[in-house]
């Protein structure tokens, strides 16, 4: 009986991975045991046959068949993204975020229209997506209405308020600013407004709702208009 260690040495030698020391041991073992020698020769011939004699050639058309199948394949190998392509959605999201940040930086304030339902006469913070927040202040005086403009950005150049002079009259502006101008009827421009903000008070000449359009001019651009619809004046 040939021991398993010798058989392992034989197989390792056949596979070409036996080290020099192992080969010396195998050489000695084979020299000492004719049966081991016979087994080794058998195994080596067997391996040689396996390597060479029973290998078959692939069909001549296999390559073409595979490629035809590839061409007709509905599954594209790049359907799943590559590691680099997996980042594409993130890159797009980052780009959008950067663009939004840029918009906010370039445009000091962005407003949205305010509907009458937003203004019940009690204090209501008007959501604005910029450094200027507008709110209508409740007033005990049915003839006056104040709009508070809270400023977060000291770099604002001016705030322009436009209204129908048949409905509203400018009553006053409180807060730090450089100047208040009235270039024409129904238009007031407040230069150099400073945080924390201003209160602009209007005197109402009619009881019906009145619209005030607010524009904020930043150092580089003008914000979109914000329309504030003042509710009907309460009856006394």
């Amino acid at each position: 009986v040939i021991d398993s260690h010798t058989i392992e040495l034989m197989n390792l030698e056949i596979d070409g991975v036996l080290d020099a020391g192992g080969r010396e041991r195998l050489r000695a073992l084979l020299a000492a045991d004719p049966r081991a020698r016979e087994m080794f020769d058998d195994l080596r011939r067997l391996a040689h046959l396996l390597d060479t004699a029973i290998a078959v050639d692939p069909p001549a058309g296999l390559n073409a068949q595979v490629l035809a199948g590839v061409a007709g394949s509905k599954v594209v190998p790049f359907a799943a993204p590559l590691p680099g392509k997996r980042l594409l959605p993130l890159k797009i999201a980052a780009g959008v975020a950067a663009a939004l940040v840029l918009v906010f930086l370039v445009r000091p304030s962005v407003f949205r229209d305010i509907h009458v339902t937003d203004l019940s006469g009690t204090m209501r913070r008007i959501a604005a997506n910029g450094p200027v927040t507008a709110s209508v202040l409740p007033s005990s005086d049915s003839g006056r209405t104040s709009i508070r403009l809270e400023l977060a950005d000291p770099a604002l150049r001016s705030i322009e308020l436009e209204f129908d002079p048949r409905q509203l009259e400018m009553a006053g502006v409180s807060g730090k600013r450089a100047a208040v101008q009235a270039p024409r009827a129904g238009v007031v421009v407040i230069e150099g407004p400073q945080p924390p903000g201003l209160e602009v008070t209007f005197r109402r000449t009619v009881a019906s709702p009145a619209r005030v359009t607010i524009r904020v001019n930043g150092p580089e651009s003008r914000s979109p208009e914000m329309n504030v619809l003042l509710p009907s004046a309460p009856t006394k």
């Binding site: 070409g16 020769d41 011939r45 078959v56 296999l62 390559n63 068949q65 595979v66 190998p77 790049f78």
Partner: protein
């Protein structure tokens, strides 16, 4: 075992033992380049992969299933599966091992399905043979193929990977998902079985 077909030289340890991997023109770098180009949409680059590996892959399959036409279909399926799953290939690993794993899985699945339903198909008749010189060679080939069929799929798999795909122990272990030591154990046992089978059929070396 007889030396009627092949005469192996006497054992003289070489100063430079043969390396495990014989030359199939394999190149990990070239493989990865082809894979990446395919993933970028250049499916024509898959031709290089098919050309490089169709022989070892086909032989692995053939010596697992022992039917030429079935092997053709399975080989085609293997390459198409590889193509359509290229994006799942872990590029940190060897492409050939991954391809062999697909081939082995397909072959084992086929063998298992056939074992339950159909008899094993006949031998593949090699197309190129000189009748006089090939008579005994064909006899010993047929005997060896029959002996191969008697091996369990587990033993056949390691023999196929080692001798027809030239996988190292480690590569075979990776393909089969078993420890390297198990590969050695199965391979050495399989060789012993094949040797005994050939001797029992009159192809012993001492005769």
């Amino acid at each position: 075992m007889s030396n009627r077909e092949e005469t192996a030289p006497e054992f003289v340890p070489a100063e430079d033992p043969p390396t495990f991997r014989r030359d199939y023109g394999t190149s990990d770098h070239a493989d990865l380049l082809c894979v990446q180009q395919c993933l970028e949409g250049r499916s024509d680059r898959f031709e290089e992969i098919v050309g490089r590996y169709q022989r070892p892959v086909f032989n692995v399959i053939y010596h697992m299933v022992h039917d030429y036409e079935d092997s053709r279909e399975i080989a085609q399926s293997v390459f198409l599966k590889a193509f359509s799953n290229l994006s799942r290939f872990d590029q940190a690993r060897r492409f050939f091992s991954w391809l062999c794993r697909i081939a082995m899985n397909e072959s084992i699945n086929f063998v298992n399905a056939r074992r339950a339903s159909e008899p094993i198909a006949g031998d593949y008749a090699s197309p190129a043979a000189s009748p006089e010189d090939e008579a005994q060679a064909a006899e010993i080939r047929a005997c060896l193929r029959r002996a191969m069929r008697k091996l369990t799929p587990e033993y056949r798999a390691v023999v196929a990977l080692r001798h027809f795909a030239n996988c190292s122990y480690r590569e075979a272990a990776e393909v089969l998902g078993i420890p390297e030591q198990t590969v050695k154990s199965r391979l050495f046992s399989a060789r012993q079985i094949l040797r005994d089978e050939l001797k029992a059929r009159g192809f012993g070396g001492s005769e």
